[in-house]
Symmetry: C2
Subunit: 311 residues, 2 copies
Amino acid sequence: MKKSEFSFIGDIATLFGTLPHHGFEPIGDDCTVVDMGADALVMTTDMLVEDVHFLRSASTAEEVGMKSLMVNISDVAAMGATPIATLLSLSLPESAQGEWSEAFMRGYYEACSKHGVALVGGDTTASRDRITINVVAIGRAPKANIKRRSAAKVDDIIAVTGKLGVSSKGLVDIMFGDLTTEAAEIHRRGNARVAEGAWLGTRSEVHAMMDISDGIASDIRHIMELSNVGAEIELNDIPTDYDIRYATTGGEDYELLLTVDPASFDTIATALAEATGTTLTAIGRITSSHELCWLQDGAPTDIDLRGFTHF
Amino acid sequence: MKKSEFSFIGDIATLFGTLPHHGFEPIGDDCTVVDMGADALVMTTDMLVEDVHFLRSASTAEEVGMKSLMVNISDVAAMGATPIATLLSLSLPESAQGEWSEAFMRGYYEACSKHGVALVGGDTTASRDRITINVVAIGRAPKANIKRRSAAKVDDIIAVTGKLGVSSKGLVDIMFGDLTTEAAEIHRRGNARVAEGAWLGTRSEVHAMMDISDGIASDIRHIMELSNVGAEIELNDIPTDYDIRYATTGGEDYELLLTVDPASFDTIATALAEATGTTLTAIGRITSSHELCWLQDGAPTDIDLRGFTHF
């Protein structure tokens, strides 16, 4: 689906934009938001397909279970909300009924248990030959905490949590048969900055936020588009242990990408590290140019970095 | 999965029952319920898999789109709530990208538009060879309107909306190549008693309610189990134009199955018909026996009726 995925989603958003929204925010952010009074609920959904998003030969069922939850609660965290509940749909070929599905549920349970998330509904059905998993994650936060992609301001510091490129390095390791590297293990289990997202939600100096699922080269463009701004990013400042291409265009890191009031960045970074142990690194600045500009040692570079595509 | 589906779901409910629920009701009803103050939100999810729930050769993409929404908002209606929003996940093989997916979205839109339901989130991804569709439907109702499977009382009248057996007769027609019978068309498009569910939600004389997805022979047992009661059903009273097996064990009718205070049944049936044009037919009575008893002309019959299984 590649590029056409975006036009398909755009067409859908236009078509359905005319229908009543009943208090839900329209498509565009990590999650939709619905007003509950003082609090808001946020909701997101992700589908994982065998042989597209995971291989039974490369991931254990427990790992797929964990990852299915993690990628979804990562979207909730990216809104500044705390994940509270999920709905899980599974379609299982005969070969995955029994042992595989039970191990999957153990992994899913482990991840739910770690983050205090409930399973409140779902569906199980047969399929002909491949596994499909759909997870809905629901989060809750005071309305004022909700962070949107549209909230970046010119001169904001662009920052990321943790280190980038680990998951895509892990995917490459797996493709070369190295299933047990540290990066491969992180790729298989997924990551979700649950505590960090909820903490950053409480800080009004944090403006736009999203999770990094396709690499910052692709993901920053969502913030640029919805906030109607540009961005410059210093390649030397991107926190990574791997090649810059993994760190900028590699998918599935599930770190948080956010923009912060420049006067408050140091305070926020220090306080986040104290509260959660997680580093926040400044990698660039929001501009008024509407362009994405990559810098190397402060000077523009014409390096060609594109976002990761899953298929 | 057949019988084992129930034990798998039971195991999941037990495993996850120990986690905090954050105000959500646990698994067991048509929808989960979350408290929003005066109102409640209800949520449900269903997954439709190509060659299990639909055939591309027997249903148009528009029909699959319509049915995907209908089966989900039927669960919302069964709680006495009004469907307001949905999340849609699609995994599409290359052969369904483009024309098929666009026609699917037109059908989905038509059904959403008919019932004033928004599309507020979703996911699209590739798949290797078959289509999988996951829909989440969200409804809203005053808390007092929510109807649960656990609320049936001894001596309640058991009643159903509309006529039963149409959809399964349509499925059999399709299996024999008769794609254009009235029953086949109803099977392909699905049904949802949206106005009826919301109206019945407002009536305190209506106790338990659910939608009929697997046939009353199977579905009444969910009410019996959760309400800790029995039931007797008079076969002659079941409203149908087809063989009694379609009407009792045929799947996907998506009519409503409810229990009503016996003193109020006539009033409710008359008022429902006036409000929505839909008939409500008394087919039996809730008993204290914990058994399901089929009657023919008032006398017990040992007819062997089992619920429909989708696979």
